[in-house]
Amino acid sequence: MCLGVPARVIKINGDIATVDYGGIMKDVDAFLVPNLKVGDYVIVHAGAIIAKINEKEAMEMMKAWSSIMEELKGEI
């Protein structure tokens, strides 16, 4: 029920957006997230966009943990 599926916005028409789930297109409610742009990666839950995905942040978390693992190697 709290399942959120990543998708890409391909069209915006007022409060409704068309998103692409890797090949499957669907109209979803876009009212909950302001300032959406075509090309944004988003999380869709129960037919509504609930959040944007920050790709830069995603890559940084991986980098951060790669260095944390290096640090801990010395510690443990």
Partner: protein, 374 residues
């Protein structure tokens, strides 16, 4: 979406696995013989079970599924009421997960087989569109946690609900039940993996009380296997160094304040009230109801309904204990015997986020046999 594949990278997973092993050995050397981490969310349980994470981590580390299945905790009386309406000719729209959960005697799916008018929808938007087109008397049976609530409120604040559509709602809030688990349950937790998609709405700040008030290391995590491995490693790291804090591993989606627009819209439509949780009981300030301004949409008022106390738990079914992390699915005498995904006895075996359903589907024979031997 390159970032998603990097969260499934086997090389990084192996390194995290080694790190978790080392952290656990270090804690064992400090005299810690058992470590218990609860994942709140059914989707985290899915990741843990599907990717075999439970069998990967050392045996002294217990990964316990928590109460994060919003259809499992809907009182049977609500399902009975929805069935009654559907048998009287009202069209009931509901989510696929809710459709098969048994009420006191049967599920909406079983009622449909007897002629009740029930339709499964993906979201509230579909119910609004269908009701508008079909122009028949209809009720949307809506359940869900913070993630789902704004997807309903979204249409109400826009006055977009057709006259023929009313709502029967069993919405529940997650921080109160987590407090309940920590205060009342017999499980002593060393860490909590907090729900990622609930937090997109509430913000990370909603979970800070776990580390501040209960001194429990808390990680808000995403749903890829590496997200969960990082969450486990971070909790172990905090435990090893003797501190507790809230760590937001899912920063690619979750911010500190959350989705402010969704919060504002939800608050306009709903107010907080006490809520009854199936198999658990009454939890103060754990539910939402429509504000007076929206009373004309409330099926309970419009149809003069009274939600009766139904039969929440069948004798012997351990779903209520599984929800609180006090029992494993394999502790239940019905699991995979009388109760299977095809013939579920309790709600935990129905929903794709129900722990019993996930274990039944992905638990794996060897893992189950191992648990049965314990």
């Amino acid at each position: 979406m390159k970032f998603i594949s990097s969260y499934r990278d086997p090389k990084l997973a192996k390194r995290l696995h080694e790190l978790i092993d080392q952290l656990v050995s270090r804690l064992e050397r400090q005299g810690v013989s058992r470590i218990k981490i609860m994942n709140f969310c059914g989707t985290h349980e899915h990741t843990i079970t599907y990717y075999g994470i439970r069998s990967l981590v050392p045996s002294s580390l217990d990964l316990i599924a928590g109460p994060g299945c919003p259809v499992c905790i809907v009182p049977a009386g609500y399902i009975d009421t929805a069935i009654k309406l559907a048998m009287e000719g009202v069209t009931i729209y509901t989510y696929g997960d809710m459709y098969r959960v048994p009420g006191s005697y049967e599920s909406l799916a079983q009622a449909r087989a007897k002629g009740a008018n029930v339709k499964v929808v993906y979201g509230f938007m579909d119910a609004v569109r269908l009701a508008r087109n079909e122009k028949k008397e209809a009720v949307f049976f809506g359940v869900g946690f913070e993630t789902t609530q704004p997807t309903l409120a979204s249409w109400m604040v826009r006055d977009a609900i057709p006259e023929n559509l009313k709502l029967l709602l069993a919405l529940r809030l997650t921080p109160p039940v987590m407090r309940y688990v920590l205060r009342k349950s017999r499980v002593d937790l060393d860490g909590v993996i907090a729900p990622g998609h609930v937090s997109t709405i509430t913000g990370a700040k909603a979970w800070v009380f776990l580390s501040k008030e209960f001194n429990v290391p808390t990680v808000i995590a995403g749903f890829e296997p590496l997200d969960v491995l990082i969450a486990i490693a971070e909790i172990l790291r905090q435990k090893l160094h003797g501190y507790s804090r809230l760590y937001n591993e899912y920063g690619r989606v979750v911010t500190w304040d959350g989705n402010l627009r969704a919060q504002e819209i939800t608050d306009k439509v709903f107010e907080v009230t006490d809520g009854y949780w199936r198999g658990i009981g009454l939890i103060p300030s754990s539910s939402l109801r429509l504000r007076d301004k929206y009373a004309s949409l409330d099926a309970i008022d419009v149809y003069g309904l009274k939600i009766e106390k139904g039969i929440d738990t069948r004798s012997g079914c351990k779903c209520n204990k599984v929800i609180l992390g006090e029992a494993k699915p394999t502790d239940c005498p019905f699991f995979m015997k009388a109760c299977t995904p095809a013939h579920p006895l309790g709600p935990c075996m129905v929903s794709s986020e129900g722990t019993c359903h996930i274990w039944a589907k992905y638990g794996g024979r060897l893992l189950l046999e191992k648990f049965e031997l314990e």
